[in-house]
């Protein structure tokens, strides 16, 4: 009897030691979870923002790109954009022309006579605020990060300006700010949306192309937009899971 008691006590001690050791080892391993990058990170108790873009409504006025530059202090030179508009022209012979002079801010002039054109359309571009954003993944210091609302942001006081995230973004949405010397990009107007306002590009769009909304809210405009349209994302094979959803996106658009 006494022997059994000793045995069970011993077993209890071994089990406890194993458990403690296990927890200790597991907690040591936890940082490695960071390597398993492709995990779903929705914000269960708050908003999870995205953007719908209805290409059928875009008239290529470029006001979104212009407003973005004013709102976010983006340099006016035509090399730095948080958002821009591209014009695709498909000619009758099947060839395709793409332009984006000054990001579309000054509007577009059609180079080709109407009778040569089969179809022409505009595509507003912006940061896709990807669920699995490669730019955030590659930042060596963690200056590129994702907000709880799913917005890809930059900490300008922390960025070292290595340019690795610019290389890693498949969509060309980042640039190094020429005076601040740090990476800059679309924040979906974080300073506005956190106060309940709309992003500047959405606010100024005369035809309602851009639909900003909360993907976690079943009643939001964005969720309705996604239900009602057969949307596409850019470069789906990159598996970055963009949160910018296009209606009427043609395969030619990259």
């Amino acid at each position: 009897m006494a022997n059994n008691q000793v045995k069970s006590r011993r077993r209890f001690l071994t089990d406890a030691a194993l458990l403690t050791g296990g927890i200790f080892v597991a907690s040591g391993l936890k940082p490695l979870g960071a390597l398993l990058y492709a995990t779903e990170r929705k914000n269960p108790n708050g908003p999870w923002y995205g953007m719908g873009i209805d290409l059928e409504k875009c008239i290529g006025c470029g006001r979104c790109a212009d407003a973005c530059k004013s709102e976010n202090d983006v340099p006016r030179e035509p090399f730095f954009f948080r958002t821009w508009v591209e014009q695709y022209t498909i000619l009758n012979d099947g060839s395709m022309k793409i332009t984006s002079p000054n990001g579309g801010i000054d509007g577009f002039k059609q180079e080709y006579p109407d009778e040569e054109i089969f179809k022409s359309f505009f595509v507003p571009k912006m940061c896709n605020h990807c669920v699995k954003s490669p730019c955030t993944q590659v930042c060596p210091v963690g200056a590129a990060f994702e907000s709880p609302e799913g917005i890809s942001l930059i900490d300008p006081n922390y960025c070292i300006g290595c340019g690795y995230c610019v290389q890693a973004c498949p969509y060309g949405c980042r640039y190094i700010h020429p005076t601040r010397k740090v990476v800059d990009k679309c924040t979906m107007c974080y300073h506005r949306i956190t106060k309940g306002l709309l992003p500047a590009c959405v606010e100024v769009c005369p035809t309602g192309v851009k639909i900003f909304g909360d993907l976690n809210d079943p009643k939001s405009d964005l969720v309705r937009f996604k239900k009602e349209h057969s949307w596409q994302v850019l470069k789906p094979h990159m598996n970055t899971e963009p949160k910018v959803y296009y209606n009427g996106l043609r395969a030619e658009v990259r």
């Binding site: 954009f81 984006s100 060596p140 890693a168 060309g172």
Partner: protein, 399 residues
């Protein structure tokens, strides 16, 4: 107008096809070309040194310390172009203090320090310890103090202690080989893991980087060894030089096969990006890839070194051809790095057009500055040769 913007307007006028508007400016210039180039030279030189130490290739003995000191001289410079390229260079230490572990770039500082402190400096110290002690006894004045400091106070040179030095040195070299592979394979991974860039994103990239590093490092040691003997007016150990040439040939062939495999794979798979890469290779990279990287830097040295393997020729001709081949290889690998780093940024990620790269003469990203970064390691090497002359070491056995 701001010269930076003027430069960009100039580039804007040279855009070919369609590119995303943020892509006009190349983020990584000549300094980032130098970074893998210099790091590769370090890794390659070290691997050559370890052939002698670990794999007991005794004929390479005359180049062992030359290779180690060459590796050190270049390693000391390796991070400088990288740091000076940052647009916020004063923040570089953030990589070490708060590394972001999912980033391929974040670990570089640690691998670099590991390699510098644990592998190279320790190995050289163990190898030189006996000489440092003896020099500190022989010399007078300030040099006596310098050597004394370099001994780090360990002055025991009894046979037993020296045996331990040898054991430690051997162990460090054994660790050093995978470390050298890690150092440069890792640099390859920094590029190879960028899925957004089809010119970089290949699983072969780290392997190609390792072999091209070996090629360039061996060629560099060969060049330095010949130059040192030329300057000191000493006879070159031809048996040693011949075997370095043999290793260089093997490394060149392996590198060529790997790069060929990469290209064949791209051509055969012909993915979405094939068309633009085809235009890139045949257009913007025409000279730097076909002529400099593959022609001058690879095929001609392979033919020369292969010829010398098969047919006997006199020592003088061999020396000239070896010198020529090593220089060609060094130029070729430079262009290999160029074609990777610059080539990968010349086409738009929309795959619909090209931007251009104009190398300025002056400025922190200019070619003069790049030349400075390439000359500095040789100055450091000259200093190391003066401080730790491999030819004035005390013969083993006697004190």
């Amino acid at each position: 107008m701001n010269p930076h913007f003027l430069h960009l307007y100039d580039m804007l006028s040279k855009v070919d096809g369609f590119i995303y508007p943020n892509e006009i400016e190349l983020q990584w210039g000549i300094l980032i070309v130098l970074y893998p180039y210099i790091t590769g030279l370090v890794a390659g030189a070290f691997i050559l040194a370890s052939l002698e130490r670990v794999f007991k290739v005794k004929v390479l003995r005359p180049t062992y310390t030359v290779a180690l000191l060459t590796a050190l001289a270049f390693l000391l410079v390796a991070t400088l172009p990288l740091i000076s390229h940052l647009s916020k260079p004063m923040r570089f230490y953030e990589i070490m203090i708060t590394p972001h572990f999912t980033s391929a770039m974040a670990i570089f500082g640690f691998i670099y320090l590991w390699y510098l402190m644990v592998v190279l400096l320790l190995e050289i110290w163990f190898d030189y310890r006996r000489d440092l002690v003896l020099w500190s006894q022989e010399k007078a004045g300030i040099m006596k103090r310098v050597y004394k400091i370099l001994t780090l106070g360990v002055t025991d040179i009894s046979p037993k202690a020296l045996k331990w030095d040898d054991k430690f040195g051997y162990a460090i070299t054994v660790i050093g080989i995978p470390s050298a592979f890690l150092l440069h394979g890792y640099v390859g991974f920094i590029f190879g893991s960028v899925k957004a860039n089809p010119w970089w994103s290949t699983v072969l990239m780290p392997v190609i980087f390792i072999f091209s590093a070996m090629v360039s490092g061996i060629a560099l040691v060969m060049f330095v060894y010949m130059m040192v003997n030329y300057i000191r007016k000493k006879m070159i150990d031809m048996i040693c030089l011949d075997s370095i040439a043999k290793y260089l040939l093997v490394a060149l062939i392996l590198d060529f096969v790997l790069e060929g495999l990469d290209q064949v794979h791209r051509i055969y798979e012909a993915e979405e990006s094939f068309q633009i890469l085809d235009l890139l290779v045949k257009g913007k990279l025409n000279y730097t890839l076909f002529l400099f990287q593959w022609g001058l830097g690879m095929l001609i040295p392979i033919l020369i070194l292969g010829y010398l393997q098969m047919f006997r020729s006199n020592a003088r001709l061999r020396r000239i051809l070896y010198l020529g081949s090593s220089l060609l290889v060094l130029i070729g690998i430079f262009f290999m790095r160029w074609n990777v780093v610059i080539g990968g940024q010349l086409f738009s990620k929309s795959l619909y057009g090209f931007t251009t790269f104009k190398l300025n003469l002056i400025g922190p990203e200019g070619s003069l500055m790049a030349a400075v970064w390439l000359v500095v390691p040789f100055l450091i090497l000259a200093f190391l040769f003066w401080l730790l002359p491999p030819w004035k070491r005390h013969p083993e056995g006697g004190t």
